[in-house]
Amino acid sequence: MNISMADILLISPMIALFLFSLIPLTIKVLRGNVEQSPTATIVEALIGLFLTAGLLIVFGGSGKTAFNGQLVFDGLTQWMGLIAVVSAGFSMILMYENPATRGKQFSELIFLAMNSILGMLILVSAVDLITIFIGLELMSLSLYLMIAMSHEQKISKEAAIKYFVLGSFASAIFLYGVSFVFGSAGTINILDLMENASTLIKTSKVFLFGVSFISLGFCFKVSIAPFHAWTPDVYQGAPTPVTSFMATAVKTVSFAAFLRVLAMKPLIGSDNLFLVLQWFAVLTMTIGNVAALVQTNLKRTIAYSSISHSGYILVGLITAGISQNSVFAASSVVFYLLAYSLMTFGAFAIVSLIEKNENSVVQTDDLAGFAKNQPMLALCLTIFLLSLAGIPPALGFFGKFYLFSAAVSEGLLWLALWGVLNSAIGVYYYLRPIVVMYMREGDCDISDDRRFGTTVAIVTAALLIVVLGIGSGPLFEMIERSLM
């Protein structure tokens, strides 16, 4: 297996990313373990990300495979990779300014983050189950450490250990599945399995067993219903920038990998698995929305909301899984993930802005009076929340609209109905923060140190949501063409 020049070019984004991740650390080592100014670190990191994104755009979408079929660089890789890189980049800006992550060991944090992004890129482009596993583990391991590195002493550690134990537990299950797939099909390359997966699944019980295990492993990663228990605790425990990192980038790429696995069309083969996933989707949407109603902590509310959004995305995934031209359904999933990442990032960014010190916990009622003190930021939060609730003309509405159109066109009417009902329930807890911000007197204000980066990120996200919302047509077509 010789490594041709083409392969190198294809994985150049990853190489660039890895090299740039080393720069802050080596400078710190050269300076005799004295932390260089965080601004320098963040600038280096962002340059690295820009370079990676540029390379991804140039080389990503060619559709060729590298390392004889282990990595593929098609539209999905490009789009999902870009979403991951952009939202991770935004989250790193948050890390730069959030009290819990700023200060000492900031370059280590950046190093881990960049490597986690590297894992994501691998995960997104992998079509070989083991490569997927490698990408998954690289991403997760660096994530566990990022959570544990928070200056906040108590709950971040607990979150880290929880995420670690359950993450490893689930990846063990995932691996078990891979072994069975290898056993029954002889190969673990999705491209090879593509043709006969749906027939094989009918004949060999072992293959079905394997695929189910793999799907359940993924369900854990994207916090689908019975396996979602870790998400609220970890999202609340982790420092807000890292939570935003997890909720946007990690979830996007996990869904991308899940989509690749489902692209083998296993659901057509066994309608039991199809039914199980449908019930999981319904369960996730309901639990996410219903639990968010009774939450008082703002971060935890957004966590549950992100669970419910996983439920909506799973509906898209299932539609892609069973539809003939799955391009339409897949592009609606990609579009939704783009919208979801932007909105959730925005919400977490506002929370990170309000946190005065590393130990401060933001309750929903603490937002009282925020609109009077910060009208612009309050408006941005309102846009994020209304978009999450699916109120037109924000991006969130169109995300849901495309998703449910895809589901309806494939006949999954009852899933769409359930999704619509759940978003009606969801409206209540999306409106509560707006109620508190605008209609209650209070003195909530952002911390006094000028967090210029975060504010810029928030405003750009809000603008993107409104602009892309109105111009969602061309965006969707672009995605669909690239996935063709």
């Binding site: 537990f169 079905l208 019975p226 039991n272 199980v276 999981f280 219903v290 639990a291 009774v294």
Partner: protein, 647 residues
Amino acid sequence: MNQQALIAILLLSPVVGFFLNGLRFRSKNYILAGTIATLAVVISFVCSVLLFLDLVGMPPEARRITANFFEWIAVDKFKVNAGFVVDQISSIMILIITGVGALIHLFSIGYMHHDKGVTKYFAYLNLFIFNMLILVLGDSLLTMFVGWEGVGLCSYLLIGFWFNDSAKAAAGMKAFITNRVGDAAFIIGMFILFMTFGTLNIHELNALAPTALEASWLGAVTLGTLMLFIGATGKSAQIPLYVWLPDAMAGPTPVSALIHAATMVTAGVYMIVRLNPLFISAPNTMMVVAIIGAATAVLAATIGLTQHDIKKVLAYSTVSQLGYMFLAVGVGAFGAGMFHLMTHAFFKALMFLGSGSVIHAMHEEQDIRKMGGLRKYLPITHATFFLGWLAIIGIPPFAGFFSKDEILWKAYSSSAGHILLWAAGVIGAALTAFYMTRLMALTFWGKSRVDKNVHPHESPISMTIPLIILGILSVIGGWVGIPHVISQYLGEVPNFWEHWLAPVIRILPLAPAEHGADHEALEWTLMSVSVGVAAISAISAYIMYTKKEGSADRVAKAFGPVYQLVNKKYLVDEAYFKGLINPLIRGSKNLWYYVDVNIIDKATYKVTDIVRGGGSFVKSLQTGNMQQYAMYIGVGVVVALSFVLMR
């Protein structure tokens, strides 16, 4: 001056009066306000006289002046425009309205001069005249209905004129809502007629009215006319919906004179006369009208016996006289109905204004038990009241005699008539004579029971002139329609009334021959019976209330409970409140409490509680213990796999 302009001026002068007074409603200058208002109505009167003369000049068949100003509602086949018609019937009505109206305006100047809202009062009066003219002149049922509800609105404003007294305000509201019940039926009547005949224009409706009599009760014409009649009972205070008229006395007396004696209450009769071809082709409705008319006449007369407030007595007398008009119309004697309407307008307006000047003299005292012997103090009022009294009890040659007798004769002789109807009419006449004489005796004759510090004085000239004019009209008013049986002895005086209305009134198909010897004799006998009965009861009442002191009370005690019942107006008002209004309010309170609050809101709260309960259940699942989560994963895996591998 062409006729359309005349009609325009006729209608617009009260409107101008309304605006002139309305815009400066705060000023207390009663003379200016009074003159503006009276002048406006006089102009209308002059126009109506000119129009009347034009009509007389026209050949009998073509006596119709129409003016069509603008198109009001035009949707698909439903075309109604603001059109007005002056023909035989409506010309008389506008003469009455503007004539009597002008006199009452003049009277009001004197009566209302001390009231601080006098300009507002005159503005409302002018608005009333304008609406009444629309009602009368309207060429389609809908235009008539505009006037119909407009006069209802004005009567609401005028009854509740002294609004800081909540009883008076309640009376105004009661009047409007009771009228509204009638109007609802009127609307349904209009729909029925529109659906069957495709038009609401009165002239076309009359032309389209089927000549064949409609036997069934559920026929379109019968139902339509019945609904219109229910509307008329609302407006003209007949049996079911008359309760508002006695309370309407809360308004100033000239208002009672104008609205609740001369003009508004007669609207129902006028409507039936206008649509007489339709009513004729629905004999069942005619029967209902006649029966209700007779019943109201008798019932109202009995209540009139026991009332102590001078205006209440006159109010019940009005209800009773209206009953007569409906009786006349019910038996097909449309001409007689209109005739009685005109004469009643004269003498009832006279008596109301007379009672006004009495009340004015007695400084707002209305209880006749505290009056008596006012003959000395109010000579002119007494004289004119005396003429009115003679007219109402039907003593020849006064107006009341000719019109009431005509009704009684037709109640008997007409094919739709019946002996019982005639009998009811005669009983009514007797009762009318009794309570009117009682009224005269208690207020003017007999010993004076006026308490010391009240010393009545005659009303000023501006109030007595209208009384005098109306007194004269009450006398000569009847000579317009002298029945043939009498006129043949007086040198063939033409019965102007019959000729004038003939072309517009359709005669009942099988009416018996008018002439013929035996009929004349019968007519004479019936006439003498009714006059005799009236005279006897008048004399007995005179004796009871002037000569023998205690006799009235003794009779009252003799009848005991019956007297109490009648005195309390048969407890009809209380029945309405207990049976209809209070349960309605209580019901809607429960309705609101149970349906809105308990069922609908409770249901939504239940849904939110279920959802919230689910939320707290899921929250309880998140125990925070790592192994609990691992267990969920384990269970999830086992369940999923067993389901997947099951088949």
